[in-house]
Symmetry: C3
Subunit: 316 residues, 3 copies
Amino acid sequence: MRNEFKNDIEELVESISESYNLEYYIVPRELGSLPNRDVIIEILTTLRRLIFPSYFGKNSFRKEVQEFHIGELLINVTEKISKQITLALKHQARILENFNEDDFILKADQLGYEFISKIPQIREYIATDVQAAFDGDPAAESKDEIIFSYPGLLAISIHRLAHELYELAVPLIPRIMSEYAHSITGIDIHPGACIGKYFFIDHGTGVVIGETAIIGQHVKIYQGVTLGALSTRGGQKLRGVRRHPCLEDDVTVYSGASILGGETVVGKGVVIGSNVFITNSVQAGTKVSIKNPELLFSEGGPKEQQKEEIGFDWVI
Amino acid sequence: MRNEFKNDIEELVESISESYNLEYYIVPRELGSLPNRDVIIEILTTLRRLIFPSYFGKNSFRKEVQEFHIGELLINVTEKISKQITLALKHQARILENFNEDDFILKADQLGYEFISKIPQIREYIATDVQAAFDGDPAAESKDEIIFSYPGLLAISIHRLAHELYELAVPLIPRIMSEYAHSITGIDIHPGACIGKYFFIDHGTGVVIGETAIIGQHVKIYQGVTLGALSTRGGQKLRGVRRHPCLEDDVTVYSGASILGGETVVGKGVVIGSNVFITNSVQAGTKVSIKNPELLFSEGGPKEQQKEEIGFDWVI
Amino acid sequence: MRNEFKNDIEELVESISESYNLEYYIVPRELGSLPNRDVIIEILTTLRRLIFPSYFGKNSFRKEVQEFHIGELLINVTEKISKQITLALKHQARILENFNEDDFILKADQLGYEFISKIPQIREYIATDVQAAFDGDPAAESKDEIIFSYPGLLAISIHRLAHELYELAVPLIPRIMSEYAHSITGIDIHPGACIGKYFFIDHGTGVVIGETAIIGQHVKIYQGVTLGALSTRGGQKLRGVRRHPCLEDDVTVYSGASILGGETVVGKGVVIGSNVFITNSVQAGTKVSIKNPELLFSEGGPKEQQKEEIGFDWVI
């Protein structure tokens, strides 16, 4: 670096340092260490190896040492998650000014254990999701292909883990997990959502499932589906209020449809067509489609009167 | 870890271990080693360096040692892909109960070689895709920018590789490649799709191209476009059936449009407008748009009678 | 590898080597080293630690050594970005055949310093974005959760950095940064877009914001929103032309809406409903919604006459 910039950088260090003293919300250092996103992703990776033995590990899985293998992964994951929960609880308590150092480690150990004790049940649920994907997708070559590569399965697997932590009221960590899943799959499921067995998301990019959504068994949704709120104008005043819909068993929702509102109930066996936009309840057994917009066909070429029908390359 | 949890963990190990014996489809360990997703991604990284010399390597590319450099990358990639193909074939054969150890390595070596021998042709295709992106996007500063950063180019590059393996009937690996591309680009192209030269996907997030789609030359599609199936209700019974549309040369499809069905043919030079939803064939040269839904304008404020027009922040 | 393939591979090396001599645009090796995408991502990671102290570092942030910490990160990032700018400028100059080695290092150092000197101002903007997300999302548990996990915040943070480099006319690097953000968030903001304070993108997957878009303060947009061009048929002839809309202060745009065209101005306080498609200006204070397409309800079962209303699983 040139000398002329050295002095400038000293000034800049000071200027940044001062800015750290001004704006609390992006400088929480006085609140101690925070959970570490990288470690939380490592935890998810280890849990995936436990849930899908032999798919994601480096070494092949040998039946004769199965219990040692499980034990090793489990102890590793328990220690890591308990540590992260401790950090998350401490941080929350300091914000709430309700801090008592000794309580946290014990509480975090208990929460960590409660979480890992759910693994057999979570596996049972995820096994039904694999089955639902296989039954629902003619392009699926095998269940192995689904486990290896389907983003919908990855998203629901991570959701089922994050949801348990959400239920245990662990702060920060569930959302870090779900947004990690969002990042790699394009599927955004808030950890608060309650989702039944045999859930299948096909393709998945652009799916949004809100915090208070409730989804039954054997539900299938496609890319670009939103299960959302009617409005978020209330902002933080709406925290904890039911804002997202309920889908009963055997519902199918095709691509691009939006179902909004905390009082909206989509009954058993309903089929919602592509691009349908719904804010009221739908009776069980109904099929809902949109009357598709009229299509306009022309032989092309730049025509002045067609300027209204945009999205075309001859309009400009 | 506290002692009180040690015993609990031993029980949990047993409980997970038992669950491994119950549910085959997420415990295929008895079927031997599976292909390794991380190695498959390494293969794609090496292939990208071969296809775009000097863009992605750590060292600059020197013309005088070009052949050594190519040779090294090529041997590396051939050995890795053959190993992965061996694992994929063995796994498939064990499932089919048609297992004969000796055949696999030879067959995998042959398939691996057939695959890499396609690289010059794949490069030729990808070069046309770079050109199409440059010609089609006024925001493109240079072809280098496209190669470095355009998700559409990355998705079609990986597709062209995965498609060759699909054509060679290699199990598992093509889909792992294409879902890796989906994960980092939001563009979901099934490795079965046949795509002509000069293909350009702009922005790309949410694009879905199904297994049996056929796409001609000089086709351009935008974010959120689906080339899909009319229905997947048949599930696994539909495997191998033509379910996705054909787009002839010079077709443009704007954002959010859906073209569905295995008998749908979109003729040469057709332009499909934004959000069009089509399930029938379209004659060559036609422009198709939707008659846009009527827009409602109001001066705002909470009005009871507007509750129907949702998606607004004054409705709740 | 078998001997029979050894010779074949030698031929293949030659064939690939020859193809490198044919097609310039995927072999720019004669133009020297290019910027390195991995290093550019490292730079973004370091900048994130500077902007959000204590959130993303491995060690906890200690107030008493704050200035040393800032200084170390800043020197690291300045040297790296200057090196990458040097490579980008050299590459551009060689293409423009306007090459004078000595000029670049000085110019790159100056540009690198100008860039990092913007960090305090960028932090100030990003702090307003955190606030906007917290105020706008009832699912936000805390500002920490937003900083750790919201893809919208990550996308706008990287955009604010990339935009400064775009303003300094640095080639290649801004777009590599913005497409990296696109890859991990599904949000595609061209580095050229001008965006005011308090910007909030909720969910975000599928958002596209074009190069010449202008966005005021306190603007909120949802997943799947496009601020795009009416047409890109002109291709490279349109470079530099204003093609994207302007959104004034306090505008909200709900999911799936498209606002297109360089002459389109959306006035102060306007609310655009879900799936609205707009190509003309909208007066301040207006709410715009679509008259939703008529919904068709049926009790299901395969009916011939419903073949038009597709997207349903009973149609095939």
